[in-house]
Every structure is written in C-alpha cells, then in structure tokens.
Amino acid sequence: MKALLLCPDAYGGHGGIALFNRELIAALATCPGISEVVVIPRLIVRETEPIPPAVTFCREAAGGKIRFMRTLNRVLGAKSFDLVIYGHIHLLPASLLVQTQSGMASLLITHGIEAWKAPKSVVARHFINSMSAVVSVSNLTRERFLDWSKFPGRSYVLPNAVRLEDFGMRPRNPELTRRYRLEGKRVLLTLGRIVAAERYKGFDEVLEIMPALLREHRDIVYMIGGDGSDRPRLEKKAARLGVADHVVFTGHIPESEKADLYNLADVYVMPSRGEGFGFVFLEAAACGVPVIASKHDGGREALLGGRLGLLVDPSNPAEIEAAINESLLRPKRIHPDLELLSFQSFERNVHAIVREILGTAQRA
C-alpha cells in the first residue's frame, strides 16, 4: 500500500508543523503494510534532514502553488495511492486533483488555530466532509474543529511526540550565556514567532508582570526567543514598563542552538491563547525546565492536564506571577511522564489510526 502526504513543510522546514510532519512521515514509513510514502511539501527553507528509506520526498514541489500542483498531478498520474493525508486544512483544495483517484482513504490533519474556525476557502470547506477521518494534535483542536465543521466521520487525537534524546539537562552553554549577558541571572523563557498575527503567545502578559516580579527577584531576565515584525512593539512596551534592562530579545534561533537555549532557562512560560498543542512545552520539559502553559489552549494537553507543569489563566496576571514564583522554586528535572509523549507511543498511535482507516475503507 502507498500513502501520499501533502503538507506545508516537513524536511527543511521550521516550526511545530514541520516537526510534526517529519515525525508523521517517520511513523508512516514503519507502518506495517505501507510500502512507500510520497511526500509533497509546499515549502523548503533550509537544508533538509536525512530522508528515511521508503519515503519519496518531492523537493521539486516546494516554491509556489503551481509547482506544488504540477508535482501532485505528476505523482498521481504515475502511482495509485491507498491513503492520502492532507497535512493542513489549507491544502484541501488539492482534493480537486486527488479525487480523480477513487477508492482512496483520506485523512485531514488539524494542528491549531487554522482549524478552530471555518476556513475562508469554500473549496476547502466543501472537501472536509469527503475525508475518511480527521486527526487533531489535541482534543481542544478536535472539539473546536468539530464545533463548526460538524464533521460526521471518525476523529482522532494524536499528540505530538518529543525525542527525549535530542534534549536533556545540560549545563548552560557559556557562549550563549555571554552573548545574552545572563551571568548570575535567572531566566524566564518564551519561544515563538513575534508577529502581530500571533499576538496570542503571551509575550505581553509576561512583560506586564515583570515590574512586579522584579520587585521580588532582582536577578530575573525575560528572554524572548525568536524574531518577527511585532518585536519593535514589544521592545517599546518593555521600555515603557521600565523593564527593558531585564528583557532579552534573541532574534532568530537556529535549530542547532535550541536545546542549549532551553537549558539557559529556569522557567519556560507561555501563557498563550492560541497554541494548538505547544510542542515547545515538551522541548522545554525535556530539558528539565519547569514549564508554565495556558488553561485555555492546547498547552493544557501538552502538559498532560498539569502533570508536566503549571497551568494558568492567561487573563489573570496574578496567576501567571504566582506560577512563575512557584516554578522558580522547583528544581529542574525531567518528568518521567514525558515518556508518554515519546516517539514510540506516537508511532504506535499512527499505526493504529492508519490500520483503522484503511480497514474501514477496504470494508467499504
């Protein structure tokens, strides 16, 4: 059996969705009965990671809609597939081409905010009901998606996995410590793109309580890892609040520095409202950093309902402050429950979902 994955990005991509897709591809590649996985990405922005055997990664598709559709057309002409996976709701219009192959099971992956409201594209909305099943990275995303879509088919929750071996507790990297002037400081960290469209990450909320935190702890620094167009606004805000000396903007973080960056932190805090799951929480936790997430988005599930860290109401500054104070007292450690989110359990889940969908499709 052959599987086809259409995705925004995977190998050579940044961020949570690319990471999820790489894990998904790896799990599909080991799925009993699947002989080949063909992946058609929309974007490649950097050097790609090694591609697993049994995976065909169509690099030529990246770099524009036309290239993507042309590649898809060619692939569909050359091979027939038993399963097609739409890695993002915005890729559903590609169904127009895929539908030419009948008898194929189809799966939609929903990650977060893109699936919390009906997409503007009429075509995308139209094709949702033709999916065999929908997979969401969190139950929150699943419920919000079902809320507007009224999707009648099967729906699954497939939480992200974390490769514990890529992280782990390490001493602070001296170079980074120097670069960000963190000697003798305790560090609060939030990682994420700083763009106006993602003003739900919780940067503002943490900045706003910095004056109060600094009254208690003079040695605190808030490190904002990442870059984007909203950075000047946040810099101004830090200055207005009189905390600019205690806020570090790192700019873009290369993948290779990520684990070291987490290890600079004493607390990872992201009181967000828009995370579909929040892979960063797991990465921080995998470095033994005490983690604070939101009660009101997917972060709640990333933290296993509060087992892996503290949950706060992002609208209550006092809760965020108290959680930071509590976390500063917590020793760093890697929580054993993180194993529940290992790649092995992710892989098992993917296999089970594929088995069920293909089984159902074949019976039909």
Binding site: I113, K117, Y200, S315, A318, E319
Partner: protein
C-alpha cells in the same frame, strides 16, 4: 457557606471581647449554618472569632471553624466557597504546605501564609473571611470581587466587629441601631441600600473586591484588588485574540469552565430553573458535564399567573422533562406568602424591594433536600440584556446633542410635560432632563424607585435633605465608573453589576437563601469568567445572550430562546394589597415603605 463573626478589641483601652456578645451575634445567624458552630478567643481576650457552618465541602469535623493552620499561628472564619481550592491545595502542598483537612477553608490559611494580601487574586469563588495572624497581631479581612458573600463591620475606634449580617451585629447588643439617613435615602432611591452604606449609621459593608488589615492602629485603607470597570477597560486592549475562534466557542468554553467549578461539592447540587435563557442554558450545560448526576431543578408557579405569559412553569417543566432533570414545580399561594411574611421580613437583612422570589424558590429547593443550588443570576448583567444597555447610551447621547441646540432644553421640557399628561404612571418622566445627561444620572433614572426631589414625601424634608447631602448619589454612581470602561456597553455593564446586582440581587439572594440554609451558586457571576469573556462581550454586545443560549449542544430550544424577557416575578401586588393603578413603580414605592417599617424596626 456560613455565618461568620469576628471581634477585635484593637485599642489597648478597649475592653476585652465579651464572649456573650460574640455568641449572640453568631446565634442570630443560626440558619446560615445549622451544621456546626464554634468560637475561638485569643489568650489575651483581645480577639474573638465565631462561625456557624453549613457543611458543603469536607463534611467532617475537620472542616469546622474557626480553623487554625497546622502551625497554630493563623486562625480563620470564612463564609463562602473556593471553587479552585483543589488546584491551589496541590500547588501549596508542592511548595511544602501541610494540611490537616481537605477543606477549602484551610487552603485560605496556607495561601495567606504564602502570598499575604495578594492571595485573594488567586481565588475563584465567593468569599468573605477574616484571618487572625498571631505572628503579626493583625487581622486580614477580605470580600470576593463581586460581593456575592456579605460582610459588615462596625468600628467604634477601639473595637471592630465583623459579621455576615447587619442584623447579627445588632443582635450582639454593642452596636447602635441608629438609622443612617443616607442609607435610608439610598434605599428609597435605588430600592436597596448602596454599599458601603447600610441602614445603620454605625455599620458599613466591607466593599466588594477589597481587603484591609486591622492592627493596633485600627483599619488600614482598603485595597481594591478587582473592579468590573477595570476589567472592561483592559478588555479593550485584548481584542487581538477574539478572532481565534468563533465567539460562540469562547462563550461555551468559558461558561462551561465556570460551571464546572461551580459544581464542585461534596453534597448534591440542584438548580433554580425558570423559563428564561440564563437558568435553562446553565442547566443544559450542567447536564452535559461528564459524570454529572441528573440535577434536581425547581420552578415556582403562581395561581395568579395561570395562562399568562408570566407563568414560567409550563415551559420550564417541558424543558426539564426533555433534558432529563428531576424537576419540581412548586406552587406558592397568597396565604403561604402571608404566613411566611414575618419570617421573611425577619430574615431580610437590610431593606430591599426584591428578594421575595428568591426566598420562596430557596424554600422549595430546601424542601427537596438540596443544600446547594445553581442560579442564572447575573446573566443579564453579563450579556447586556437589560433595557438599560441601549437606553442609557441613547439618553446620554441625546441629551448631549440637546445641549448644543439653542433652547433645546426648553423645547424638550415642554415636550416631556405633554408626554407626562398622556402617559400616566411613570412619575420619573420629568427627571429625564435633569438626570439623563450623565451615566450616573441616567442610571438613577433607569433603576431608581424615587427621584431625589421626591424623597421628602417619604422621609420628611429634613431627613431627606440630610440623607441626600451625605449620600451624593450621582457622584457615588459616577465613582463606580473609575477607571472609565470607555465603551457604552462596558459602562452600563459595570453599573448594573456594581449597583443593582451587588446591592440588590446578590444581597437578597444571600439572606433569602440562607433563611432556608441553602447555598446559591452563581456561575455567571464570576470574576474569572468576566475577565475571559469581556473582549467577546464588547465585540458582540447585545448578541451575547443569544450566543450563550446557542452554546449548549444541542442549543436551547427556540421556544426558550425567543421567549420575551420577563423578570423573576411574584404576584406581590396581589399578595400584599399594593396599589394596582399607576404602574409597577407606584406599587413598589408602597412596598418599600412596608419593608422599611416591618423588616427594619428602628
């Protein structure tokens, strides 16, 4: 849920606390807490605490009050419920705190030990409490953000006395009963006494959303840790996240969260059910909470309303049957009202023109063996469904425009006089020009029972003048809008929540339910819920109520969603022989006089 009392003889020249006084105060609140009682006195006799307990969480004697912490350094009396106590407890325990009970009361002690006065900002619930800190020899006093649970004090400059009820403080015998003419004036203007005033000159309310300390130097300035006005103002800067999901989704998720917290209980929880949107939606959402037992729901019916639109019983019964609650319709007759009236007026802690409805629905719930009932109170204030939400901005805007027209006021005055000749019944019509130009004045006009110039009719000229002078009602209302919420919706929502709801609905619900040893919980009156929903409310305004009604799965049936809004009415006019001509306001003015004479004997 309890009745609490605390006496602190803070000045050295004050006599030590009299045990009999404390006990008499506590005894007056027996119905608030029939399950247990207790007192605690400091070794030097300067501090006494008393409690009557209605056990809802941790039913064992471990939850009794006054309660000491494990170190024996802090002592608390607490009235209310902390719905997030389990989370707080586990986090305090992770930080090394030790507990001897599973009660929410003890969580307050440990939270105070850790966070001091800022502890109140982490509480989700309704509360009024006093903590005696033996280490620092001072008392910490706090009340919940909305003022769901009452707390009053009398401070004579030497000794401070606190209790859950005004009448309880009076029962101790040491507090003067002298009427406060400003409180009386406030009652006649608004239909309830605006806090912090009370009907007694020497008694004041601990204001909602504030806390203070008392030490050897007396009371500290109150610290306001929550204001509805502030929430609406902040919400303006939080519009960025609204668009993440449909407004309906925010509505469902946040209301459902509030409801889940409000269902935390070690005894069965029931609900008041009317045929209105608020209670029906809450019941529908509660019935869909996984593992929730079928609720017991209670509706009142009155022979006087049979076959009229005001009869809520048939629709409520149908809804309850469809959704699967154990439903009871309780008929209340005039003769039952008259038989209960002395008890009702005795329970009425301060004069109010409302509360009869809640008194009887609480009675009906208690008859069903319930100790806790969910109420839809607060839905109209939250979702902006009172007529004030469109009338006030309109009135203020129109009068503002009128100011700019030459002779505009004169023309309008003539028109109003003509109008009054045609539309008999509302004696407040002419006040429009005088009061309608500001939110404070327009609110008085909207909610007012009497207008200031009419007060001498009931109070006499001197008392009315003195009362009005000290009351400064317009300024008092205007101060509630600080900081300015900056939007018409935010302003009216703030006024309704901070005046009508706080001084009338919530206060009446407290005494009327406590008279039957019933705890009423109000998931729509929740400080966290308001913070979470405020951005959505500001963007959807009057539509919010329908969003709320659509939030259960399946949504509320059309018959309920589209039903014309009625208040939670009782046929008081028929029962109490109130005037039947001249509009409801004339009848309520008469009722106000009855109440102040009979419920508040001077």
């Amino acid at each position: 849920m309890c009745g609490i009392t605390a006496i602190f003889a803070y000045r050295l020249d004050a006599p030590p606390v009299a045990r009999e006084e404390l006990e008499a105060i506590s005894e007056r609140m027996r119905l608030r807490g029939p399950d247990a009682s207790g007192t605690w006195f400091s070794a030097d006799g300067r501090v006494g605490l008393g409690s009557r307990r209605l056990a809802i969480i941790d039913l064992s004697a471990d939850g009794n009050q006054p309660m000491l912490d494990t170190a024996g350094e802090l002592v608390i009396v607490f009235n209310g419920e902390i719905y997030n106590y389990r989370e707080l407890r586990s986090r305090l325990a992770a930080g090394g705190a030790t507990f001897h009970s599973t009660s929410d009361t003890e969580v307050l002690l440990q939270l105070y030990r850790r966070d001091g006065e800022r502890m109140v900002e982490l509480l989700r619930g309704m509360f009024a409490f006093a903590i005696w800190d033996r280490r620092t020899q001072r008392m910490f006093v706090a009340r919940d953000p909305y003022g769901i649970k009452p707390l009053y004090y009398a401070d004579d400059g030497h000794t401070i006395r606190l209790a859950s009820q005004v009448k309880a403080l009076l029962a101790g015998g040491a507090v003067s009963r002298t009427r406060d003419v400003a409180g009386v004036a406030g009652f006649y203007l608004m239909g309830s006494v605006p806090e912090p005033l009370t009907i007694c000159e020497s008694i004041r309310a601990v204001e909602a959303g504030t806390s203070f300390f008392v030490d050897a130097g007396g009371r500290s300035d109150p610290r306001q840790y929550y204001s509805v006005a502030g929430v609406f103002r902040n919400a303006l800067t939080q519009q960025a996240t609204i668009g993440l999901v449909e407004a309906e989704t925010w509505m469902r998720e946040f209301v459902a969260e509030s409801l889940r917290y409000h269902l935390v209980s070690d005894v069965p929880v029931g609900a008041f059910l009317s045929s209105g949107i608020d209670s029906s939606t809450l019941v529908a959402l509660a019935m869909s909470v996984p593992g929730q037992e079928p609720l017991r729901t209670v509706t009142l019916s009155f022979g006087e309303y049979r076959n009229l639109a005001d009869d809520e019983a048939p629709l409520a019964r149908e809804f309850a049957n469809n959704i699967g609650t154990q439903h009871v319709t309780r008929n209340i007759t005039r003769s039952e009202f008259l038989a209960d009236l002395p008890k009702l007026l005795d329970a009425m802690d301060q004069p109010t023109i409302d509360g009869v409805n809640t008194y009887f629905v609480s009675k009906a719930a208690a008859e069903q063996g319930l100790k806790v009932a969910i109420s839809g109170l607060g839905g109209d204030e939250l979702f902006g469904s009172y007529s004030s939400f469109h009338r006030l901005p309109l009135m203020v805007g129109a009068l503002d425009a009128l100011k700019r027209i030459p002779f505009g006021r004169g023309i309008a005055l003539g028109a109003l006089k003509l109008l009054r000749a045609w539309v008999s019944g509302n004696p407040k019509t002419e006040g429009v020009l005088r009061y309608g130009g500001t939110y404070g004045g327009a609110y008085l006009l909207q909610r007012g029972l009497y207008l200031p110039e009419d007060l001498s009719e009931v109070m006499g000229l001197d008392a009315a003048n003195e009362g009005l002078d000290r009351l400064q009602i317009i300024d008092r209302i205007a101060r509630i809008l600080e900081p300015d919420p900056n939007t018409p919706f935010g302003r009216v929502a703030t006024l309704e929540a901070s005046l009508y709801m706080r001084n009338q609905l919530l206060r009446d619900t407290d005494w009327a339910s406590m008279a039957h040893s019933l705890e009423v919980r109000t998931p729509l009156v929740d400080a966290s819920l308001l913070r979470q929903l405020a951005p959505t409310l500001l963007s959807r305004r009057a539509e919010s109520k329908q969003l709320f009604a659509m939030s259960p799965r399946p949504p509320l049936p059309d018959a309920l969603r589209r039903r014309k809004k009625t208040g939670f009415l009782v046929p008081l006019r028929e029962w109490a022989d109130l005037p039947s001509d001249g509009g409801l306001i004339v009848a309520m003015r008469r009722w106000a006089e009855t109440v102040i004479e009979r419920a508040m004997p001077a």
